[in-house]
Structures are given as structure tokens and as C-alpha cells.
């Protein structure tokens, strides 16, 4: 790829994650967009495309946001890809710039999720029929959630982690809780996190059990938040100020995958294969390996999920995730810091914002602008997100050459 075909993040912003009772979805998205534009030193007039994601609102979030921040008539792509929605929006803007359809693009993800409660379970109250009649693709005569496995996210991802334990051994309730302890400890340095209190192992293990082995603090925190990014190509970046060039972050790899068919993948979602595929493609695109990463933000929607992604992203040898964690590597002072933002368990998980917010975190470190939680001299970072269904986004980011 020639320098002019390179893709760069010119500006990026995330709102504080947490409860924003006085801001609606559009307010939050607009705050993220205006922050990203200001960060990049550009305006809506420079954007040739808008890609926007929001799952819980009424639809058409991109146009709703344009109506508040700038209606320029450029194409809008409203995207939806579960928890990978933000990464999908970013990927869409990148594709438009890469294709040469425009020189700059805007991606935004926003969610109002505070107080949303349990996601994925049951839905409507069980209404067992007056008459048993088969319906749906399984010919079910009554609701199956809770009778044939579980649809709740904490339960699904609990099984993902437990399956890893069955395959390789070494997992325990305490191990998963220790992963959560790490992320909650990391969050104390992140002023934008929804929750930034350290939690002891005992507190985590004795908290409310949601789906064994995941207790409440081991689950991603529902909250409000938004994040946005401005992307451009290398040729356009060269026309901008030296300061803009210095702060721009190179997107060395941008990959989105879905899950290829595997035995059992329609029984328990296989979040492993598509993550491994995305990581392999990303390392190849970027010409770097896991050993080159200074920090990783991975999709710890549950403590049980973080463990398997150490392995899926190649941070350890196959089957070695338990030992990798035990070595202290993923702590912020370890050899391979993971989720120094606090991760989804404490920073929070406003679904559509997550896949851009994790990239913001990496960018701040690569720009040496991350304050108290700066990973010293960070040059290369990886952001991973997964949406059940499934979609996986992996981005590898690099600091601009001095």
C-alpha cells in the first residue's frame, strides 16, 4: 500500500460513559461528533460520508445527527451489527475513503442504555399457550429460553469461558473473578469510565451471581455513551497542518469478519473462530505480530470472554490463556497490557459506541495524551470488538512516525 492509500484517524472523541439523564441519544452522538471534528481540526463540510450506529433508538440515527450538527447532503450509512456496530461504522467510513469516493469520512456510535437491565433474555413474559401449537424454526410449542439453554448474554458468554476450561483446563470461578479484579483496578485511572472503583476479589466473588461464573461486576456495565472518529487518507493528511499530521493515528489494519460455519456454532455461538480469523488478517495487513503490541483493548463483555480472547488474538500460545493471565502480563504494568481503560466491565458498554471508544483509548495512548493511565512509549495497539450473531472487528493502530 502506498502512503497515499494509507488510512488515518484524524480526530476521535468519546463522551463520558455512565448515566446521562439530561442528554438524549442525539445529544450524546452530537457531542461525540463535534468532539471528533474539533480533535481533527475539521468540520462537517470536510466529511464526504457519514456512517452511524445505534441499536436501541428508533432508527435513522445518522440523519438525526446530521440535522443537529450539519446537513451537507453526503451519503449516510446507518449500520447495525450488535456490539460490533461502532467498529462497523468505522469500517464503513474507511471503506468509502479507501475506495476513493471521498477524502474524509465520519463514523459515530451512540447508545442510551443506563438501566436497561438484562440483555438477550426471554424478552416478553412467558405466555404458555392455551393450546400447544408448534411454531418457529424449532416447531416449539412453548418458549424455549430457560428450558433449552439460555439466551441471556451473561449465560452465553459464561459458557464460552467454561468451554475453554473444558478444552484446556485451569479455569475456575476465582480465575474469572481475578480477570474482573484487574479491569476494575485499571478503571480507577479512567475518568471517563462509568464505574471507576477498585473491587477486591472477595467483593467480586461475593456480589450478586448473574450466570455462574459471572457475578454482576464481571458483566459489562449498561450505560449511556457515544464515540466518533474522523478518518482520512494519506494524501489528504499531507495537505494538513504539521500538528494534524503529528497527532494523526495510522490505521494499519481494519478488519471485519463474521463467523464461518463450525460444528456447534448454531448451538453455542462460536466467538473464537471469527476472532482468530480477524486477528490473523489484521496482523497480516499491518505487518506486525502480537509481540509488537504495546496495548490491547479487547471485548471483555464478560470476564469469561476476556480469557478466550487472549488466546484468539494470539497474545498467548494456543491453550495458554490461563497461564498468560497468571503471569501478570495483561495488567497495566505487565508485558501485554489488556483493557487499561477498565474494559467493558467498568468503563461500560453503550453497545454501538463501544467499537469506536476502544479505538479512542488506544489512540490516546499512541498520542501520549492518556494522562495518569498512559502506557509509556506506546507505538502500536490493537482494538477488538465482537457482536454476537456474530461480527468481529479488529483494528491495529500505529503512532505517526516522528
Amino acid at each position: 500500500m502506498s502512503a497515499s492509500e494509507d488510512i488515518w484517524i484524524l480526530g476521535i472523541h468519546m463522551t463520558k460513559f455512565g448515566k446521562h439523564p439530561d442528554l438524549d441519544t442525539v445529544d450524546l452522538g452530537a457531542e461525540a461528533i463535534r468532539g471528533a471534528l474539533a480533535d481533527g481540526g475539521v468540520t462537517m463540510a470536510d466529511m464526504g460520508v457519514v456512517a452511524a450506529g445505534n441499536l436501541m433508538g428508533g432508527g435513522g440515527i445518522g440523519q438525526q445527527l446530521q440535522k443537529q450538527v450539519g446537513q451537507t447532503g453526503v451519503p449516510v450509512y446507518n449500520v447495525s451489527n450488535a456490539c460490533a456496530t461502532g467498529a462497523t461504522a468505522l469500517r464503513t467510513a474507511i471503506m468509502a475513503v479507501k475506495a476513493g469516493e471521498c477524502d474524509m469520512g465520519l463514523a459515530v456510535g451512540v447508545e442510551k442504555l443506563a438501566g436497561a437491565g438484562l440483555l438477550g433474555g426471554g424478552g416478553k413474559p412467558r405466555a404458555d399457550g392455551k393450546v400447544y401449537e408448534p411454531s418457529g424454526r424449532f416447531g416449539a410449542v412453548a418458549p424455549t429460553d430457560g428450558r433449552i439453554g439460555t439466551n441471556t448474554m451473561p449465560g452465553v458468554f459464561a459458557q464460552v469461558g467454561m468451554e475453554y476450561g473444558h478444552r484446556y483446563g485451569g479455569t475456575s470461578f476465582e480465575l474469572f473473578a481475578r480477570i474482573s479484579e484487574k479491569n476494575h483496578a485499571h478503571s480507577t485511572l479512567n475518568p471517563l469510565a462509568a464505574y471507576s472503583k477498585a473491587m477486591s476479589l472477595e467483593q467480586i466473588m461475593n456480589d450478586v451471581m448473574i450466570a455462574y461464573p459471572n457475578t454482576r461486576p464481571m458483566c459489562s456495565a449498561n450505560c449511556d455513551g457515544a464515540a466518533a472518529a474522523v478518518v482520512t487518507n494519506g494524501a489528504t493528511l499531507k495537505t494538513l497542518s504539521l500538528e494534524q499530521q503529528r497527532r494523526a493515528i495510522k490505521v494499519s489494519a481494519s478488519v471485519l469478519t463474521s463467523d464461518p460455519w463450525q460444528e456447534a456454532c448454531q448451538v453455542l455461538p462460536d466467538v473464537n473462530t471469527l476472532t482468530r480469523n480477524a486477528a490473523t488478517q489484521a496482523y497480516e495487513q499491518a505487518g506486525v505480530g502480537p509481540e509488537d503490541l504495546d496495548l490491547v483493548e479487547l471485548h471483555d463483555c464478560f470476564a469469561t470472554a476476556e480469557l478466550v480472547h487472549y488466546d484468539n488474538l494470539g497474545l498467548c500460545e494456543e491453550g495458554g490463556a490461563v497461564d498468560f493471565f497468571g503471569s501478570g502480563a495483561p495488567w497495566r504494568d505487565g508485558s501485554k497490557p489488556v483493557n487499561v481503560s477498565g474494559g467493558l466491565q467498568s468503563k461500560g458498554h453503550p453497545i454501538s459506541a463501544t467499537g469506536i471508544a476502544n479505538i479512542w483509548e488506544v489512540c490516546q495512548h499512541l498520542r501520549d495524551e492518556c494522562g495518569d493511565r498512559q502506557i509509556p512509549d506506546a507505538k502500536v495497539g490493537l482494538a477488538h470488538v465482537i457482536g454476537l450473531g456474530s461480527a468481529c472487528g479488529v483494528h491495529i493502530l500505529e503512532r505517526a512516525a516522528a
Partner: protein, 140 residues
């Protein structure tokens, strides 16, 4: 005696009750839902094949918080039935980590969901523990 219907159409209420899968005639991929085509090889023809009633618990969770109307706690899991993965609850066991373990041998069991206005009884299934040595981690 009143009529009995299975909770799902892939539960066959023979003696003994068992599950059946739709097996792709081209690649052998197995499915439990109504199919349009094979997700693995895109072929469109399927045979009906019986699934082993005995299996090994490959993963589980003990769900303590679920959707409205769902009784908790319950054990949800994935059972390896002779190479075919099956989703199901672990039943007839205390739903706690002392009584449920990875690699535990289990067997299909059925239970009554109740009777509808026509007197028809719905039959569900799950997997109950059976005696035997658990599969060691790493040898799954």
C-alpha cells in the same frame, strides 16, 4: 390417555425418547432447526438422523437471572452427544457448582411441561447426570 407433544419438533417421543437432527446429505453437517440450505456447503438436501442419548457436558452456566417468567436457578449447557453438540439444560441435579462439573457424563431425560386446554401434554427434555468418570480437561 391424553395426547403428548414434544416441546420442539426435534424431540421424538418414542421409547426411549431421543433427538433427531437434519443431516446434510452432502457434507454431514447437522442442524436442529428448519433449514433453507446447508450453512457449511450450501446443499439443500437433508436426512433425519438420531442423536445419541448419552453425552458429555462440554460447557455450562448456572443462570441466576433470566427473563420474566423463567424459573431460576437452572443449569444451561452444551452436551457433546457422540460428536454432535446439543443445547440443553442439565436437569434432575442441584443447580450448583458442587453438583455440576465440566466433562460430566449425562443422559437425555424428559419431563412434563403441563397440559393445555385440550388435555394435550407437552414434553420437554434435558440432560441428567449419570454415573461415570468425567472427561479430563485437555482430552475433550
Amino acid at each position: 390417555m391424553s395426547e403428548r407433544v414434544p416441546l420442539v419438533d426435534y424431540l421424538v417421543l418414542d421409547d426411549p425418547p431421543h433427538l433427531v437432527a437434519k443431516q446434510c446429505t452432502q457434507c454431514g453437517a447437522r442442524y436442529f432447526d428448519r433449514r433453507n440450505a446447508c450453512a457449511s456447503c450450501f446443499a439443500e438436501e437433508f436426512d433425519s438422523v438420531p442423536i445419541d442419548n448419552d453425552g458429555v457436558l462440554r460447557s455450562f452456566t448456572i443462570v441466576a437471572h433470566a427473563g420474566p417468567g423463567i424459573e431460576v436457578p437452572f443449569v444451561a449447557g452444551v452436551v457433546d452427544c457422540g460428536g454432535t453438540s446439543v443445547r440443553g439444560n442439565v436437569i434432575n441435579v442441584e443447580p450448583d457448582a458442587e453438583h455440576v462439573s465440566l466433562g460430566m457424563p449425562v443422559r437425555l431425560a424428559t419431563y412434563s411441561l403441563g397440559v393445555d386446554d385440550n388435555g394435550t401434554e407437552a414434553i420437554g427434555f434435558g440432560y441428567e447426570p449419570v454415573d461415570g468418570e468425567p472427561t479430563e480437561p485437555g482430552r475433550a
